[in-house]
């Protein structure tokens, strides 16, 4: 145990927590609006990584940070298509049906991605230098990831709470029948919400691709982490998800100073179970 490592570990964990939070926001938005547990979340995160990788290593050599913008747009379109292909016809069925529908999409994405890209690890070689103060070294790539995560999260907040479309999405989330009576096309709003949630997952994957090596199966770990974060922050609550992500990131960073790194996931799942038992609504309570 070394307390000298506490501050740098906490800062590293905190910074990563923003990216975790962004991924979890996508998952919780979809659940909050349409009560769908999206099991295609992990593979979509991995797809975001490969969007950046493919553009970066392709003939155009697109800058990874422009690739993140591409991931945002592709994610939105992918989510809307996924909604109409896999969910639209079963959206009113029991939750198990939509869960299985998204699980099917999960398997399809993983199957296609592993065939195309194989499971060989890839990396996007990007470096933005670092800033060092004492024994704390902040990497440029991590700092930019935090900034992008904050901008995207703020954009989501603005969209949901400052625009007519956002108001419509929230209305559909609160009471779909009443929203339809007010003239809102709920089907379109559900598709849009699913697209936004998918887009957030893809952007988080795109950001992670600038930090760590990855392969088509890399999204699974982040998906599981997203579920822990979503429960911690409050099911269906995007702000809670961002906060939950930061808490989990911080926890990961700080606990590694006191316990072996291998034990961190165990601790995370203990917290997951405790939250479900003691405060099932999460830190901020469940709401859309």
């Amino acid at each position: 145990m070394s307390l000298e490592a506490l501050i740098p570990s906490a800062i590293d964990g905190l910074m990563l927590g923003f990216v975790y939070g962004l991924a979890a926001m996508g998952l919780t938005l979809i659940f909050g609006v349409m009560r769908v547990i999206n099991l295609s979340h992990g593979p979509v995160i991995a797809l975001g990584m490969f969007v950046v990788y493919t553009l970066f290593t392709g003939p155009l050599g697109v800058n990874p940070y422009l690739g993140i913008v591409a991931a945002l747009v592709i994610g939105l379109a992918f989510g809307v298509v996924e909604y109409f292909v896999a969910l639209d016809r079963v959206i009113n069925a029991p939750e198990l049906t939509t869960l299985l529908a998204t699980f099917s999409v999960n398997l399809m994405i993983i199957g296609i991605a592993t065939s195309v890209f194989t499971t060989t690890p890839r990396a996007v070689d990007v470096s933005l230098g670092s800033v060092g103060i004492g024994n704390v070294t902040v990497l440029g790539t991590h700092a930019v990831a935090v900034l992008v995560a904050i901008v995207v999260a703020a954009g989501l907040y603005g969209l949901l709470f400052r625009t007519r479309v956002g108001k419509s999405i929230r209305a559909v989330a609160n009471n779909r029948a009443a929203a339809e009576l007010m003239g809102i096309d709920s089907r379109r709003m559900l598709a849009l919400a699913f697209g936004i949630g998918t887009s957030l997952a893809m952007v988080s994957g795109a950001l992670l691709s600038t930090l760590f090596p990855f392969n088509p199966l890399s999204g699974t770990g982040y998906e599981v982490k997203s579920f822990v974060i979503v429960v911690l922050g409050g099911l269906g609550n995007p702000t809670g998800a961002l906060l939950g992500g930061i808490v989990i990131g911080l926890l990961e960073g700080v606990t590694t100073v006191f316990i072996p790194v291998s034990w961190v996931p165990v601790l995370e799942y203990v917290i997951f179970i405790l939250i479900l038992l003691v405060r099932p609504a999460g830190l901020l309570g469940a709401r859309a």
Binding site: T118, T119, T120, S130, G253, T256, S262
Partner: protein
């Protein structure tokens, strides 16, 4: 037959065609040694193995497979393996993609033995996969020469059919510690951060007490899960403990990411030695982060094991020279061989010599021949333990240490820094 069944069979066939490979040399017209007449009997020697065409071990495994392919090519061009009774064995290699997964290895080695009816097995790459294959080979009484597995534990289970060409993992970092202390005797604190797979653990299990026996203090001793990509938690601990040296790592992907992270976080240790990753040419892709990193290697191009070296040890030399291997490899694959490539070729050579000596593919005769093997090839000395508990474990091969250094032209190059008789540059401390 139902259409669905036809489709299913077609898919299975396509998958098998995509994943597998068979190299059948053209026997006809191949010259025979000494220009003698055509042999009385020509038989196929069915050799099976899996490789990692996908997954984490893809790079090193591909190199190993290339080494095996080169050996097959050379044997074929030489007219096959000639046995004492005049029989000529023409190698036919069957291999499948294991995806770097142990469960696939076990399925595929079972298939190689039961369906493909191979005579003898070579190993996949990486200790975890070798361990999985070894269990199947042993259960079925098939001789397997392992090239890509250095794990001690696999070779300490009393197996009777498994023979290890590589130096065992316990020798990987102990030599690096000797090199480090020779370079800078004032080094006192060392951090050990390693992958928690069987190979890396066996390396560290030997290296840690060795370091302590040399008076070093182990200030960080942490393992990371296979597939780890975020090394920040470990590096923060390393920075806080301020070690003089860092040793550990695991395989190519994690080792490369670890070295890159050490540079990004400006870790100032004077000596860094990592497993497996540094000897691979692709390690240089991380640029300055590779500079001064030391890596244990099973073989490097400048190391010349030759007839004179064999004579000095009073053992025979077998096969081609290091220069011949390197030039043939470059001609065939248009790239430099790594130690994984050399290991693949050497496994073939050892098998070839044992077959010639045994005069048969019979497993019992082959085992008897391998048990008494004590030979030098371009890869180094090969001798197997005949002790019941450690049977087949490599006991004579020596490690080589490389260090990435920037030349006067600013380009990174892997220099051999140990053993001294083969060194191409002096080892240096990190700056």
């Amino acid at each position: 037959m139902r259409p669905t069944r036809i489709v299913a069979i077609a898919i299975v066939g396509l998958v098998a065609a995509a994943c597998g490979g068979t190299t059948t040399p053209q026997a006809s017209g191949a010259p025979t040694a000494g220009g003698s007449a055509a042999p009385a009997v020509s038989k196929a020697l069915n050799i099976g193995f899996t490789n990692s065409q996908t997954g984490a071990q893809q790079v090193a495994s591909t190199k190993q497979t290339e080494g095996i392919k080169l050996w097959v090519d050379q044997v074929t061009k030489a007219g096959g393996i000639k046995l004492k009774d005049g029989t000529v064995l023409m190698p036919k290699v069957t291999f499948y993609d294991d995806g770097s997964a142990t469960d696939r290895v076990q399925q595929l080695y079972t298939k190689l033995i039961n369906d493909d009816k191979v005579d003898v097995l070579l190993s996949p790459y990486s200790s975890s996969l070798v361990k999985a294959a070894a269990v199947v080979s042993e259960q079925n009484g098939k001789v397997m020469i392992t090239a890509g597995g250095a794990d001690d534990a696999t070779m300490e289970q009393g197996f009777t059919n498994i023979y290890q060409v590589y130096s065992p993992g316990s020798k990987y970092l102990t030599g690096a510690i000797d090199l480090m202390l020779k370079l800078d005797p004032s080094i006192k604190k060392v951090a050990i951060v390693n992958e928690k797979d069987s190979f890396s653990v066996s390396v560290v299990t030997a290296a840690k007490p060795y370091a302590e026996s040399k008076g070093l203090q182990v200030v960080v001793n942490q393992g990371y899960d296979t597939g780890t990509t975020d090394f920040a938690p470990f590096i923060n601990q390393i920075v806080a403990a301020a070690p003089d040296a860092i040793i550990g790592g695991g395989h190519l992907v994690d080792g490369t990411a670890f070295a890159k992270a050490l540079k990004e976080k400006n870790v100032s240790a004077r000596f860094v030695a990592l497993l497996v990753a540094p000897p691979e040419p692709t390690f240089a892709d991380i640029g300055d982060a590779a500079n001064f990193t030391v890596g244990p290697s099973q073989w490097e191009i400048p190391v010349k094991y030759n007839e004179a070296a064999a004579k000095a040890l009073n053992i025979p030399f077998y096969g081609i020279t290091s220069d011949s291997f390197t030039s043939a490899y470059r001609a065939m694959f248009n790239s430099a061989p790594s130690y994984h490539s050399a290991g693949g070729f050497a496994a073939g050579l050892i098998l070839q010599r044992a077959l010639e000596d045994a005069g048969s593919t019979d497993p019992a005769k082959l085992r008897a021949s391998l048990d008494k093997t004590d030979v030098m090839t371009f890869f180094g000395r090969t001798k197997f333990s005949t002790d019941a508990k450690t049977h087949g474990k490599q006991v004579a091969h020596d490690m080589v240490y490389i260090q990435w250094q920037k030349g006067s032209d600013g380009k990174l190059a892997a220099q051999v820094v140990w053993p001294t008789e083969a060194k191409t540059a002096e080892a240096q401390l990190r700056k």
